[in-house]
């Protein structure tokens, strides 16, 4: 899976969770940019990503992530 494919998959999840069909995210998108991206929705995003890509984040791994780009990079690591 290319980074682009991964990114598109993650974007679809963002669109579903926040119910905005035309939402566009970028590497530098962070919780500051999306109003509803609170800690509870963060959990929902992570759960959906884990299901979709069949990966599991370790406890604490996600706390440190500052934006979407960092999240995707971590996913690439996991999928290797």
């Amino acid at each position: 899976m290319t980074r682009k494919e991964l990114f598109d998959g993650v974007q679809d999840i963002f669109r579903d969770i926040f119910d905005e069909d035309d939402m566009v995210i970028e590497d530098k998108t962070s919780s500051d940019d999306i109003e509803d991206w609170d800690s509870l929705n963060h959990i929902n995003l992570v759960s959906a990503i884990e299901k979709e890509f069949e990966i599991r984040f370790a406890l604490g791994e996600l706390m440190a992530l500052k934006d979407v780009g960092a999240m995707i990079d971590l996913m690439i690591e996991k999928l290797k």
Partner: protein, 591 residues
């Protein structure tokens, strides 16, 4: 909204909850209810998903949600907000995470009894204090902990957590039997159904204090939805069953009483017996039963006289076995029992029948049970259609809901006519002269088809082989495919040519494709082949048997003229010089 029924599409529900909610809010006649959630752990996502399941059941909830883990404080000391909210239902979401103190290994049995009593006292005071709202209280019992340091001993040594939890759950049950308005949400069962290792996600607990895993939340909400529906009197009352390949294996009209599968002789028989046993249990605790089957009444009734049949004819309050469309029969059933059609659940192995009932009478519950009887019980059981709040008082809230339901307009597009339904099936048929690959299937059909069979003439493989090769015969088979897939080879006509006349020795069709106009497509093809061979008239014979009364007027329907009648047998004639094509709905591939 199939993904909100068993089997739940958990991932879709979690991801698409917002758009699902929007869609469900478009329904008419939602009733508004106030639901207070008092949580012993995080309930945010549970609330969101519960909202979806309540909306699906016609309830539009307004929520009160206690602050994190403030269930006890809210219940005991109250809050202005909760008082003003005036809940219709209070749901207490506690789990084993809320158990304050388990026994320790040094504890005596008196110590353990004391711990148990302390734990119970907390809940008793919660229920007691909440009784001022005079509303339903839905209370979780306890799930087991994933770890059990005493191993198997954990369930019977007094120091075990499993043992302790079982004791607590017994106490909860005891109290729920005594306290009016207290209902148990059995998460002990639910967690074992899901599997403890999927039920609890330690990572999610540490990160967000969710006491159950994300993927379990829809199942939990689904379960609470069932109890809530039942409390508001929305449980179903009547189970409507198809017969052939639903109540027993095989086709009673064709196979006969001694050949249908029921009993314990074979695996297939046992699976139908298990289904009948489950249905009988439902009946014994107050669910009304009805039959809706395409069959001759006498044949259908005979099926339940089978010595191994668990269900008997007398178990059914309404028994519709005839050849009318099932959507009509369903309405008749509701009328004859005098209940709303939305109190009916319809089980049929045939997707076409399910489709016509669901599309024409959308308020009937028609689970997508598939065609394997092994799955049927789960579809009835897991969907909680007949969830009772108590066995004796089942009917308490029903009447009010009958009234509400009458106002309900059709929410789904319905077909305006049966013709429109046939068009929607997108049917194509292959109608061709016999070929050797179908020899066995054709022979088999001539020997087992009893109902839609004009002469009931039986053939051997050798005879069919001879006919296939002979020019003196017009012999066609029909295969029908619709949007649900192929029905296989289901129709056969054999005509013998003599002096420019075609005598129909055999005309049969499988009841699987009844009322699909397949017989017209077959006639069109037969006529066309007759013309090719310079035949000018077709002679049809109807020989009465104990099973084939449904086709006694077939030739009349085809526009044949009666030549003679002997008792119940008859001979018919059709001049084909000015024959007009009769089939309008099936696309035909021919030779």
């Amino acid at each position: 909204m199939q993904h909100l029924e068993h089997p739940l599409d958990v991932n879709k529900i979690l991801r698409k909850k917002k758009s699902i909610k929007k869609y469900l809010l478009l329904q008419d006649d939602l009733i508004e209810k106030n639901i207070a959630i008092l949580g012993g752990s995080t309930t945010s996502e549970l609330k969101n998903i519960l909202e979806i399941f309540l909306l699906k059941n016609g309830i539009k909830p307004k929520f009160y949600e206690s602050e994190y883990n403030k269930y006890y404080e809210d219940a005991l000391f109250g809050s202005d907000e909760l008082d003003k909210f005036n809940p219709d239902i209070i749901y207490i979401h506690t789990t084993n995470q809320n158990i304050i103190k388990y026994p320790e290994s040094k504890d005596t049995s008196e110590d353990v009894a004391m711990l148990l009593s302390n734990e119970m006292q907390r809940y008793k005071s919660i229920w007691n204090s909440l009784s001022k709202f005079d509303c339903a209280i839905i209370q979780n019992n306890f799930d087991y902990t994933k770890d059990r340091s005493l191993g198997n001993l954990d369930c019977y040594d007094i120091h075990g957590k499993t043992y302790f939890i079982n004791k607590l759950n017994d106490e909860f049950s005891l109290n729920a039997r005594k306290i009016k308005n207290l209902y148990i949400n059995d998460i002990n069962y639910l967690s074992s159904y899901i599997g403890l290792r999927y039920w609890f996600d330690p990572s999610l607990w540490y990160q967000a204090k969710y006491a159950i895993s994300m993927e379990s939340i829809p199942e939990l909400a689904f379960n609470i939805g069932k109890i809530t529906s039942s409390i508001f009197g929305k449980s179903k009352k009547c189970l409507v069953l198809d017969l052939d390949n639903t109540c027993w294996g095989g086709v009673i009209g064709d196979d006969g009483l001694d050949r249908i599968h029921i009993g314990t002789e074979t695996a297939i028989s046992e699976s139908y017996t298990a289904f009948q046993k489950y249905v009988k249990e439902l009946k014994n605790r107050g669910v009304t039963l009805a039959v809706c089957s395409k069959n001759d009444f006498e044949n259908a009734k005979e099926g339940f006289s089978h010595p191994e049949s668990i269900l008997k004819f007398d178990d059914f309050t309404s028994f519709k076995a005839n050849w009318n469309p099932k959507n009509h029969n369903i309405l008749d059933i509701a009328k004859s029992i005098n209940i709303g059609v939305d109190s009916l659940v319809f089980i049929d192995d045939n997707p076409v029948e399910r489709d016509i009932v669901l599309s024409q009478v959308p308020s009937v519950s028609v689970p997508d049970v598939g065609s394997d009887v092994v799955e049927f019980i789960a579809h009835i059981d897991r969907n909680g259609y007949f969830e009772p709040i108590s066995i004796a008082d089942d009917d308490i809230n029903r009447n009010q809901y009958y009234k509400d339901n009458k106002k309900r307009a059709n929410k789904q597009a319905t077909f305006k006519s049966y013709d429109e339904f046939l068009v929607s099936l997108d049917m194509t048929a292959e109608i061709k002269s016999f070929s050797s690959v179908y020899l066995d299937r054709i022979t088999q059909l001539t020997n087992k088809t009893n109902q839609f069979n004009l002469t009931t003439k039986r053939y051997t493989t050798g005879e069919i082989d001879t006919i296939t090769l002979s020019d003196e015969y017009i012999k066609v088979y029909g295969k029908l495919t619709d949007k649900y897939g192929s029905n296989g080879l289901i129709a056969i006509s054999i005509g013998r040519i003599e002096n420019r006349a075609c005598h129909i020795d055999l005309w049969l069709m499988s009841c699987r494709v009844l009322k699909r106009d397949m017989e017209f497509a077959m006639l069109d093809e037969l006529v066309s082949k007759c013309k090719d061979q310079d035949v000018s008239e077709i002679i049809g014979y109807y020989y009465k048997s104990s099973k084939n009364s449904m086709v006694s007027d077939l030739y009349e329907k085809f526009g044949f003229n009666l030549l003679e009648r002997n008792d119940e047998d008859s001979v018919w004639k059709l001049d084909i010089t000015n024959y007009e094509i009769k089939n309008k709905f099936i696309g035909v591939k021919n030779d």
